[in-house]
Amino acid sequence: MQIPASFDYVRASTVDDAISLLERHGPESRVVAGGHSLLPMMKLRLARPEWLIDINELFELDFVLRDANTLRVGAMTRHATLLESPEIARLFPIVADAERVIADPTVRNRGTIGGSLCQADPAEDLSTVCKVLRAEAVIRGPGGERVLSMHDFHKGPYETAVAHNELLVEVRFPIRPHSGSAYEKVERRVGDWAVVAAGAAVSLASDGTIDDVTIGLTAVGIEGTVTEAETLLRGHRPGEELFVAAGRLAALASDPVADQRGPVDYKRHLADELTRRVLRRAAARAGEAQEG
């Protein structure tokens, strides 16, 4: 049994309650959502919060709602819910692609989208997915709510714009017509963190050219999306030659580090290979897609 350092525990009943508990207990307090990132770190004593504020009873943050051209997902929505939602699978196949390869069923039953984004692990899959879908993060604190683009939300490895006394409450995904998206990950074993993963979203104009495209990569040290490749693709008809060129740019933009999952050249190669694969699949899905 791995034993964390001692801590106190309190259960929040509402979002405002959670925020005031965070204020009261100060910087050594942390919220716990699914606990699948925080608790392992506590057991290894890499994290030692003095207070755990449990937000698992904030059912008001567990929802998937369509609001005109936005899909709103509450921060406490579990991986399993995202994986099983037919609406999400239809609108954003990239989410289902990614959820299928995030962890294992046990982790997916508890782990949340809010926890995943706030943990901001460099190998975390949903951050890439959210960037690719140009999602927005809704953050609430003592002074009210603010809405940030993923670019502004994500500050770097293990770092986000969420202040100590704030909560991520919602993630908003813009719904776009004639669009398709895809995610692919290479892992050493099911449930392992990505060696490298890639995601792409493509929207087609009525003439079949690429109206908009985003490409995101996981675990290769890229903040944001692969803009060079996106610029190259925009305005052109999707096709293998373009995808090959985009893959090459994705590899160039990557700055991975060598670890037990693989050396740098392999990870760069995967950035290329997986970019091509997800572009192919996203474009094909966009071709099949109806209005949003």
Binding site: I3, P40, G191, Q260
Partner: protein, 797 residues
């Protein structure tokens, strides 16, 4: 007990009319496991029990300058803190290993691997104990570590074991088998020679239950009860008596339910000794349970062999000889569990399943600044490494000769009429019908169709591989005149008592860690004396309750203890005859045995069942001269030879050409473990071993960085395969009983772990043939496979 398959389906069952004995029945122990009612070491709670935690070295090699325990001692709830200096005073700072070396219980002079035991905190609860570890201040003077085993013997290398007098290097042993001159001569005149360095990287047994102990020393009687995660309680008792000075009759070792062993629980770890010392010092019971990282970082690893192998053949494909030199990394202390005479275990079975003219191997063991061990991790004493080497070499030879690897094997397998077969390194293989097993696996696989499919796929640029391995194991050690562990001969005892009502208890010296002993051994008794398995209790794991014997590892339970149990049952059956004769007023030689009863020849209606005889033995019947009034017996079985299970495995993989990701699509395993006692248990052992093999072949490796930091200290770093990485196993079998074993059984516990990694790696290498690849080392992770595809396969160390 539910019978889930008719006995008729079991070809090894013998007389089909017998209602009980061998066959496919559900495991007797499973109801308590599936209901969460198993009782493990960590479930044991004794009145007044304290909890221990071990402070471990954060560095691989350093001189201990000072330890300050005062803040830890002052921490609320802490009862005592023990250091190496305290143990020096008790003469317990160093303990003998299973390989004629010593190991530090707590470091006194230096730390020699990351994770080594430095201090022991005893507290009222495990939280206080764990918290207090952070309050101990240790001053380490860091020394350059020896991590790369290839340079460990260089003249300038730091000397790790300066505690041993006269040590000037990191050399532990050189060991040879076979005839080197003869082998060199055969190689010199061979048409074809293939050479390859083959690495079996360091892996870990990683049982679900980590190691732990509860020690309870009773000062008035001077008696120690030690609950431990042990695969060998009796051997542990003797060793504890020798080391601690507590007389052996005052020591009771109990191994309750054990959550997996795989060799990890053969040795005696510092934690067990510290729990005992803690109980003596505090006068209260002390529990010590390691956590997952401690298990992965400090307890016995497995493998870590760098094998230079060579195979010689004629140009037509007749294999002539093999030779090998091995560099074996034993870590900081030589704590490997092997029979004394065999420091490299049974590696000399690396001649495999082939009829050879010559063979020679030389193994050199060295110290490095890594965790000690080198256990029998489901490897029947290094058979795993041996089989992997020869099966890789045979595949490489097939490639060189442009021959189908199945055909090459069929040409060279030892023929049925050659058994018992004496190989060139001193083994006598007991029995086998190798060609039959290989042909059966090929038939199950649809081998020719698979090769055709592969052709078509290759033409389309798809990467499909087919890998074969044929293995022969040597398991069931002794005989004791050749095999001992720290002087204890490798034999096992059994005691059988039939109670007056005809129910029985059999007490065995081996210890189950999940293998199903409580069922298998009841079935063996049932087969011999004809009472149903559910009426027979199997007692194991408690030295006060069971006869002496060496324990469960190296697939020895059925070959050794299984024989003991069969023989003790036969002894009881024989005794029953005399009692039945007295009861029937007949002559013993006029009685005949069938279906659990003795009856009068020619008059089957006149007879006595075992239950009636048992009541007679304990009742008022006048017993013949020399027959005691009971129906009990005991034996100790010293095996005349080892047994040699074998099998033919075929693996089909698909490799993603863009990512290097390997998918095991099919796996066909044909095993021959001689007589099959419970086919369901056998299949369970095979399924587990095959899954283990997928882990080793594709993902597992305990890696160290240059400073000696262990990079495999959690299950996020050291990967355990799941149901999602493995195909539906396709198992089959042949039955070639062992001629020297009382029931012809050979042992199955490690077959699949031994046989599967070469089949998988052979399949991966076969898939990569279009890239000109002839060898790659495990683990075949996507990155390593991709590197091989780029023409630069890399050894893992």
């Amino acid at each position: 007990m539910t019978i889930i398959e008719e006995r008729a389906a079991n070809p090894a069952a013998g007389d089909e009319n017998r209602p009980i004995g061998y066959g496919r029945i559900q495991r007797k122990e499973d109801p308590r496991f599936v209901r969460g009612k198993g009782h493990y070491v960590d479930d044991i709670v004794l009145p007044g029990m304290l909890h221990g935690a071990i402070l471990r070295s954060p560095v691989a090699h350093a001189r201990l300058v000072s330890i300050d325990t005062s803040a830890a001692l002052a921490h609320p709830g802490v009862v005592a803190v023990i250091t190496g200096q305290d143990l020096l005073g008790l003469k317990l700072a160093w303990a003998p290993t299973l390989s004629a070396d010593v190991q530090a219980v707590l470091a006194t002079d230096k730390v020699r691997f990351q994770g080594q035991e430095v201090a022991f905190v005893i507290a009222e609860d495990r939280y206080a104990a764990r918290d207090a570890l952070e309050l101990i201040e240790v001053d380490y003077d860091v020394l350059p570590p020896v991590i790369d085993v290839r340079t460990a013997l260089d003249p300038g290398a730091p000397v790790i074991r300066d505690d041993l007098e006269g040590r000037t290097d990191n050399h532990i042993f050189d060991w040879e088998a076979g005839n080197s001159a003869e082998t060199d001569a055969v190689f010199a005149s061979a048409d074809v020679v293939v050479s390859q360095e083959v690495v079996y990287p360091r892996v870990h047994p990683a049982p679900m239950e980590t190691c732990g102990a509860v020690a309870d020393f009773e000062p008035i009687e001077g008696a120690l009860t030690l609950y431990e995660t042990s695969q060998a309680p009796h051997a542990h008792r003797t060793l504890f008596a020798i080391v601690s000075g507590i007389p052996e009759h005052k020591i009771r070792i109990v191994s309750p339910d054990i959550g997996g062993g795989f060799g990890n629980k053969v040795g005696i770890y510092p934690g067990y000794i510290l729990a005992v010392v803690g109980s003596i010092v505090t006068g209260r019971p002390v529990k010590w349970m390691e956590d997952r990282s401690e298990n992965l970082m400090s307890t016995s690893f497995a493998r870590d062999y760098i094998m230079q192998g060579e195979i010689a053949a004629t140009k037509d494909g007749k294999i002539l000889a093999v030779r090998s030199t091995v560099l074996a990394d034993h870590g900081a202390f030589n704590a490997t569990a092997q029979p004394t005479k065999y420091p490299a275990g049974f590696f000399h079975i690396f001649t495999g399943s082939y009829d050879l003219q010559a063979a020679h191997c030389k193994v050199t063991g060295v110290y490095t600044n890594k965790a000690p061990g080198g256990v029998a991790y489901a490897c029947s004493f290094r058979v795993t490494e041996a089989v992997y080497l020869v099966e890789r070499l045979v595949d490489m030879l097939a490639h060189k000769l442009e021959m189908d690897p199945a055909k090459l094997r069929l040409m060279n397998l030892i023929k049925p009429e050659q058994f018992p077969y004496k190989n060139k390194t001193g083994w006598e293989y007991d029995s086998g019908n190798y060609e039959q097993a290989l042909r059966k696996s090929m038939e199950m696989a649809g081998y020719d169709d698979l090769r055709r499919e592969q052709q078509e796929k290759r033409a389309r640029g798809e990467l499909m591989g087919i890998g074969i391995s044929f293995f022969t194991e040597t398991v069931g050690a002794g005989p004791r005149k050749h095999m001992d562990i720290v002087g204890l001969g490798m034999a096992d005892g059994a005691e059988l008592r039939i109670h007056p009502t005809g129910k029985a208890v059999v007490r065995i010296s081996v210890q189950s860690q999940g293998q199903g002993h409580e069922t298998t051994f009841a079935q063996i008794v049932a087969e011999e004396i004809g009472i149903p398995p559910e009426d027979i209790d199997v007692v194991h794991g408690d030295t006060d309750q069971t006869p002496f014997g060496l324990g469960t590892y190296g697939s020895r339970s059925t070959p050794v203890s299984g024989a003991a149990v069969a023989l003790v049952a036969r002894k009881v059956r024989e005794k029953a005859k005399f009692i039945a004769a007295a009861m029937l007023e007949a002559r013993p030689e006029d009685l005949e045995w069938e279906k659990g009863r003795w009856f009068v020849k020619g008059d089957p209606s006149v007879g006595k069942t075992m239950a009636e005889i048992a009541m007679g033995a304990h009742g008022t019947v006048t017993l013949p001269e020399g027959i005691d009034g009971n129906l009990d017996a005991e034996v100790t079985y010293d095996p005349p030879n080892l047994t040699f299970p074998f099998g033919a495995y075929i693996c089909v993989v698909d490799v993603d050409p863009g990512t290097g990701h390997v998918t095991v699509r099919r796996f066909i395993a044909v095993d021959d473990c001689g007589t099959r006692i419970n086919p369901m248990i056998i299949e369970g052992q095979v399924h587990g071993g095959l899954t283990d093999g997928v882990g080793m072949a594709l993902m597992q490796f305990i890696e160290f960085d240059k400073e000696g930091n262990n990079l495999g200290g959690t299950f996020m770093d050291y990967l355990i395969p799941t149901a999602l990485e493995v195909p539906d196993w396709e198992t089959g079998f042949t039955v070639t009983p062992s001629p020297h074993h009382p029931i012809g059984a050979k042992g199955i516990g490690e077959s699949a772990t031994v046989g599967s990694p070469p089949a998988i790696v052979n399949a991966v290498v076969d898939a990569l043939a279009p890239f000109g690849i002839t060898h790659m080392d495990m683990p075949c992770t996507p990155a390593r496979v991709w590197e091989a595809m780029q023409g630069r396969p890399r050894p893992p160390i």
